[in-house]
Symmetry: C2
Subunit: 397 residues, 2 copies
């Protein structure tokens, strides 16, 4: 029996790569296993021009488009599509909750992924989670309902997939430390002064990974790694003090787990999201993949050093938010989304991103054990404050 997948955010980087992985799996599916997938829903925000060819190729049962204007546009671009076309966040939630789903790929960008992910979990669907912001903003809440529902959350981030792979067959209580590797991003060797003047174009040039704009900027500030620290805490139940970040410019070791006996396990591979995406879809099995094998001798050497917290204050902001708990992660995430957007639109400098976040955090009260409404309100309020900070240039020195 083929399984049924809904992809939330199918036109994004992870969404399109998920569809490529489905191609690989269905090419093998002629064989003797049941790892082919029927596409149930494809969803996007505004990019209907990219959605139309996906619809023609993968013939989903239905589509859901968040932006109302884009939704209307889809209907005119693809009049022959006979399945349901849903609009707005409710449309996405209907797709996420569809009882016909056997797995939901949560690959939307940013906080917009929180509610559809929550809805999919409440409906009892296993989640392949690429939308790390949902765990940064609402990790306690989301992992709580997943536990109640008995719903597995399968990490799609390469680092968390690495950790999950190292933990197969191991007990969580055997973990002594998780080491997240960080490429260091495009500004690994850029001085503090130069960082003040870097352009969005420079920040968008990631040395190792092809990704969407938001996550690429987050990689340049190391906020992406900070978010991964928070994500690791919720996925693997470790304390913030048990999570280390190590800069590893080659991005070959995707992360490591140290156990109580001193043994360390790592997952490695060439930097491609196809491996973690496929692993999340076929877990706990592994199926063949056309990705290029890794050769240590061709690589020659792997290097490691400590991250520079002074040049990259976002990493510490994330650690602090994790220690603070409550709504701190939600505030950091919302302020970061606003600040990254402002940087991409050249309204603030690269080095002002952490300042926007810090000031937003200072302006708001942390609320412990937040409910979903509290999380939604906190996100909205943080956005207002952060937007005010970026438009009024209150963070510049």
């Amino acid at each position: 029996m083929p399984r049924t997948i809904t992809i939330l955010g199918s036109t994004g980087s992870i969404g399109t790569q998920t569809l490529e992985v489905l191609d690989t799996l269905s090419a093998q599916g002629a064989g003797d296993h049941a790892d082919t997938f029927v596409v149930r829903w494809l969803t996007c925000n505004t990019r209907v021009a990219d959605l139309v060819p996906q619809v023609r190729k993968y013939k989903p049962y239905g589509v859901a488009i968040r932006d109302e204007a884009a939704c209307a546009q889809f209907k005119s671009l693809c009049p022959d599509f006979t399945g349901p076309v849903l609009c707005g966040e409710e449309g996405l939630c209907e797709a996420a909750a569809d009882p016909a789903n056997t797995i939901v790929m949560s690959a939307m960008v940013g906080f917009s992924g929180v509610v559809p992910t929550v809805v999919a979990i409440r409906a009892g669907h296993p989640i392949a989670l690429a939308n790390k912001e949902s765990l940064v903003s609402a990790g306690e809440y989301i992992t709580g309902i997943a536990r109640e529902q008995g719903v597995p959350i399968l990490a799609v981030d390469s680092e968390h997939s690495a950790i999950a792979q190292c933990l197969v067959g191991e007990e969580l209580k055997s973990i002594s430390r998780i080491v997240l590797t960080a490429s260091g991003g495009p500004f690994l060797n850029t001085s503090t002064e130069q960082l003040d003047d870097v352009s969005p174009e420079q920040a968008l040039k990631h040395p190792n990974w092809m990704m969407g704009a938001k996550i690429t900027i987050d990689s340049a500030t190391l906020m992406n790694k900070g978010f991964e620290v928070i994500e690791a805490r919720w996925l693997f139940g470790v304390h913030a003090s048990q999570i280390d970040v190590v800069v590893h410019p080659q991005s070959i070791i995707h992360s490591l787990v140290e156990f109580v006996d001193g043994s360390v396990k790592a997952q490695l591979g060439i930097p491609t999201m196809h491996i973690p995406i496929q692993y999340a879809l076929t877990y706990p099995r592994r199926l063949a993949s056309p990705v290029q094998p890794m050769s240590l001798t061709k690589l020659g050497s792997l290097t490691f050093f400590e991250p520079d917290h002074q040049r990259f204050p976002c990493l510490k902001l994330a650690f602090d938010a994790l220690e603070a708990g409550g709504t701190a992660g939600c505030i950091v995430n919302a302020a970061n989304e606003v600040a990254v957007h402002a940087f991409l639109n050249k309204h603030i400098r690269f080095t002002e991103i952490p300042r926007v976040i810090e000031r937003t955090l200072e302006s708001m009260k942390n609320q412990q054990n937040p409910s979903l409404p509290t999380i939604l309100e906190t996100d909205a309020e943080a956005r207002i404050i952060a937007t005010h900070l970026t438009t009024s240039r209150l963070v510049s020195q």
Copy 2:
């Protein structure tokens, strides 16, 4: 309930480190787990002076001493020991077969470990296997009877422990490749000409690992890595063509497994046998260990390159023996034991070791699917031939 361990070869490097690990475990055993061990038998070959303090400290039920003269000496050195004192190979076999054993550590040196290991498996005891020569000489036979008896063989070699740790929770059919790392030994950067003149003293200086003399010379010739290739084939059921050797001078990554989906897992740690010994004893659980944690940032970099088959022909001899199957591994092992002994006694040069093995192989007929008597006869015959080659200097050029 404490478990009961018999250590075959308790005065050797792995034997003494096994006793150190038991100390660690019993220090924790005051807590809430059952991983303390009662020592049932301690056995050695000749080193009774080292055995006596072990007997006083660990109070085994009995001892077995292979060398008859040493056995008599033990009785005079330790007249107050009231347990059974067994002599000769039969004594070792009686200890190995004792129904009171819950695990047997097979840590004798060389081919002498084969029969006691076979006896322990036939008695149904799980084996912690440090004696790789038993799998090199009799891998097909030993893994066959272990499968029949349902007896687990837990690898103690750091490389095979690494692979076993990477395979926990994975399916063997998901393996696409095993990569054994090699430190390269003390002669990593020694020229072919210089290799002709290296002394036993130079060969005994291993850069990373403290080990017994036999295995240290095997590490210097890379025969140890060749033996590990054969061992990996029998432990993990892979084909010779699926096993690669990569030189990694830091000995931090202990080995890697590549899976069919392109994902690679590795086990890492500081070079200490305490981790793999403890893991074999507590498998599938992990318990705390006082070993120093590994720090990637302190290491700075890990390097990798291809082994030099021209300077180290032993590696290819082992691969060829694995491809040939039958008694080839047994012949290579026996000839190697004789050649290493001759080199340590300065009867042959370092570079003559592979030549002794090659000539011995050429002089003997390979027999497929050997029985235990065939293996024992082959070993004896190969020793006669190799001894003749080393004493008559027939291998010098």
